[in-house]
Subunit: 379 residues, 2 copies
C-alpha cells in the first residue's frame, strides 16, 4: 500500500546520521529517496562491526528504504547526471559544512534554477554564521553547548555528563523529517518550494526547552543553579536479582506502594502522609524504599506493584527487549532476509497509519546498487 509520501522524490546528499535518518523516515513513508554517495561511500559504511560490502549494523539502520546512486561530483559528467535528476525531484537535502555545497555547484540558487519549486533543506551543526559555523560537528560538542550535559550532571560531584547515545543527531533527524514534510504540504497548497535551514544546535535547544530549561523561562528570574530538570530523582532500584523502576506520585499510588512494601505505618507517618511531605522527604523515602526492594527478586515486586496499580517496569537490558511481552505485542521489531547478510532486525516506523502505511520498503543499498536502474529511468 502507498505511504503518505508516495510520489515524492528526495535527492539525498547527506551522510552520517542526522540527514540519513531523516530521509529514511521519508522513505519508509513512501518517498522515493535517492541516496547520492561519493565513490568512497557514506562514512558510516566504514564504521562499526561490518558485514562486508560496506554494510554494517549502523548503516543498515540509517539507510533502509533508499536507493543508492554513486556519483563523483568532481567530474562534470556526473554533475550533469545530478542536474538531470534534480529536474525530477521534489526535495533536496544536504548536510555539508556551510559553503561546501555552493562550491560543488549545487547550492539552493543553483538547484532552484533547475527545479524552481524544490524543497531544499540544509542541515548544519551550529548555524550558517557565527564563531562555530565552520567547526566540524561532533555529537559531544553539541551536547556540551546545548545544556544536555549539564542536565545530566552528577548530583553529588556536579560533574557534567554526556548521554551515551547521539541524541542531537537523531533529534535533528526527526526535526528535519517534520520540516521537509511541512514544506511539502505548503508547496502542495501554494505551488512554491523554498530553502529551509536547520542547525543541530538550534534543534537541541528547542527540543530541551519545554522541560529541561524551565529555569530559564522567566526573564530576570533565571535559576543560575539550573537544578530544575523534572527527573531529579533517578528512580532505579536494585532488587535481589536485577533492576526495576517504580514511582508513586498520587495518594492512591503511594497507598499502593505502601501495601507492596508492607509498610502500612508509612501512610500515617508525617514524613510521607501528603504529596508535599513526600517531595520534601524524598531522599529518606527513596532510600527506605530501596532498602526493602533489595530484599526480593524483580519478578515478585513487579507482580505486586502491578496488582496495586503502581507504575513500574523492569529496567531492560537491550537484548531483553527482544522477548518482552509488550514489545512483542506491538510488533515494533521486524526481521527480514538481507541478500548476503542473513536475517536483519529493524525497528519499524513508530506511527501506524491506517490508510497510508509507513513501513520498511527495502533493505539498505550497497554503494551504487541502483546506478543502472536510475540512469535508465533518466534515459
Amino acid at each position: 500500500m502507498a505511504g503518505p509520501l508516495e510520489g515524492v522524490r528526495v535527492i539525498d546528499l547527506t551522510s552520517m546520521l542526522s540527514g540519513p535518518v531523516a530521509t529514511m523516515m521519508l522513505g519508509d513513508q513512501g518517498a522515493d529517496v535517492i541516496k547520492v554517495e561519493p565513490p568512497t561511500g557514506d562514512l558510516v559504511r566504514h564504521m562499526g562491526r561490518g558485514g562486508g560490502d560496506m554494510l554494517n549494523p549502523a548503516f543498515l539502520s540509517c539507510n533502509r528504504s533508499k536507493r543508492s546512486l554513486c556519483l563523483d561530483l568532481k567530474t562534470e559528467k556526473h554533475k550533469e547526471i545530478l542536474r538531470k535528476l534534480i529536474k525530477t525531484a521534489d526535495v533536496f537535502v544536504q548536510n555539508f559544512r556551510p559553503g561546501a555545497i555552493e562550491r560543488m555547484g549545487f547550492g539552493y540558487e543553483d538547484v532552484r534554477e533547475i527545479r524552481p519549486d524544490i524543497v531544499y533543506l540544509s542541515i548544519s551543526g551550529f548555524g550558517e554564521t557565527g564563531p562555530y559555523a565552520n567547526k566540524r560537528v561532533y555529537d559531544p560538542v553539541i551536547q556540551a553547548l546545548c545544556g544536555l550535559a549539564d542536565v545530566q550532571k552528577d548530583r553529588d560531584t556536579g560533574r557534567p555528563r554526556m548521554v551515551r547515545t547521539v541524541i542531537p543527531d537523531k533529534t535533528t533527524a526527526l526535526t528535519a523529517a517534520q520540516t521537509i514534510t511541512a514544506a511539502l504540504f505548503a508547496r502542495e497548497r501554494t505551488g512554491k518550494g523554498q530553502h529551509v535551514k536547520l542547525s543541530m544546535l538550534d534543534t537541541m535547544i528547542a527540543y530541551l526547552w519545554p522541560e529541561g530549561m524551565a529555569g530559564l523561562v522567566m526573564v530576570g528570574k533565571e535559576d543560575k543553579g539550573s537544578a530544575g530538570a523534572q527527573l531529579s530523582q533517578d528512580l532505579i532500584y536494585k532488587t535481589a536479582d536485577g533492576y526495576i523502576t517504580c514511582g508513586a506520585v498520587s495518594d492512591s499510588e503511594w497507598q499502593g506502594l505502601c501495601n507492596v512494601l508492607e509498610k502500612p505505618g508509612w501512610l500515617t507517618d508525617e514524613r510521607f502522609a501528603t504529596a508535599g511531605a513526600r517531595v520534601r522527604n524524598a531522599p529518606e523515602r527513596l532510600s527506605l524504599t530501596a532498602e526493602i526492594l533489595g530484599t526480593r527478586p524483580s519478578s515478585y515486586w513487579l507482580k505486586r506493584l502491578d496488582e496495586e496499580d503502581v507504575p513500574s517496569a523492569p529496567v531492560l537490558k537491550r537484548h531483553e527487549m527482544l522477548d518482552h511481552e509488550q514489545i512483542l505485542t506491538n510488533g515494533i521489531l521486524q526481521e527480514f532476509e538481507h541478500d548476503g547478510l542473513g536475517q536483519v532486525r529493524q525497528a519499524r516506523p513508530a506511527a501506524r497509519f491506517a490508510e497510508t502505511p509507513a513501513e520498511i520498503r527495502r533493505p539498505a543499498p550497497q554503494l551504487g546498487q541502483h546506478n543502472e536502474e536510475i540512469l535508465a529511468e533518466l534515459g
Copy 2:
C-alpha cells in the same frame, strides 16, 4: 507571514507533554491549534514553580501558539460544542489511556462521522493492546523498557541510569508532529483522512535503533552485553576552572591535540600512532589527556584547540547558554512580554523556512481564554 501549516485547524485534547509539544510545533508553523481543556485545566498548569493564573514555565513552553477552549465534556451541551468544532477541523489529537476517548464519545469512528476526512492521531504510552496497555504512562517506565536506561548505565558498576530529562515525551512529540504533517500531505493529494496510532514505547525503540541498538541488528549474532553505544567514552574533561569537551578522531585532529597538549612524543608513541591504536589504548590516552587539561583554565585550552582545529567546546551550564556567542548569533532564544507575567523567554522553532516562517505566534493561553472568541466563530 503565513507558516507552512497556515489554514490547518487542529483540535487538541492532549495534556502533559507528548501531545502538547507536538501541537505547539504545528501552531508555530501556522496551524490554528485549539487546546480543549477540562475545567481543571491541563495537569501541567498545576505543576512546577508557578506564575499565577495556572501558568508556569513548563506550561508556557509547551503551549504557546494555541488558543484555549475550556469545555466540560461530561455535559451534553459542551459535547455538542466540540462536535460543532470538529466540523471545522482538519486534525484531532488525543493522548488519553486506550479506550477513554471512545467512552467520552469522541473515538475515531465518532469523529469521522462528523468530519469524514479528519486526520486523527491517538498517542498512547505502550500501545493499544498488550500487558502494559492500560498502565499509566510515566517517563521512567518508558526509559526502563526501551533500553535507554541500559544505554546510559554506569560503566563501572553496570547500574542502569535514567536520562534526567523526559526524552520519551519530547521524542514522541516530534514524531507525532511529523506523523500529522505527513497525513495532512497525503490528505491533500487523496482527499482522505485517517486514524494514526503512535505509542511512546514504539517511538523510543525506533528512535534509539539507528545507533543505540546496533548490537541487535544482526539476527543470531546479538550482542548480549549490549556494550555498543557509540559514545562509550564520556569526553568531558575538568580544567583548572570548569569543564570542556574535546576529541580527536582523525590523524590530523590527533596531531592538533598533541600540539595543544605539548606532547610531540605521542605522535610516534606506538600506543597512539594510529587510529586503531588510539582506540585500543583509549583509557590510557584519555587519562593522560585529562591530567594535562586539568592544569590550565578552560579559556586557554579552548583557544588553543580552536587554533589547532580540534573539535571542542565548553560544557555550558544551562544559564551560560544565554551569553554564548554562537547561540546569540543564531537568535534561537527569544523574549517577549507576556501579559501579567513580565518577560518570557522561549526557544524559537529550530527550522528556518525562507518562505513560510515557523515562529512563536502567541503566548500560552490562560484556561478558557478564547472561549468567547471561538464560540463566536462557531456562531
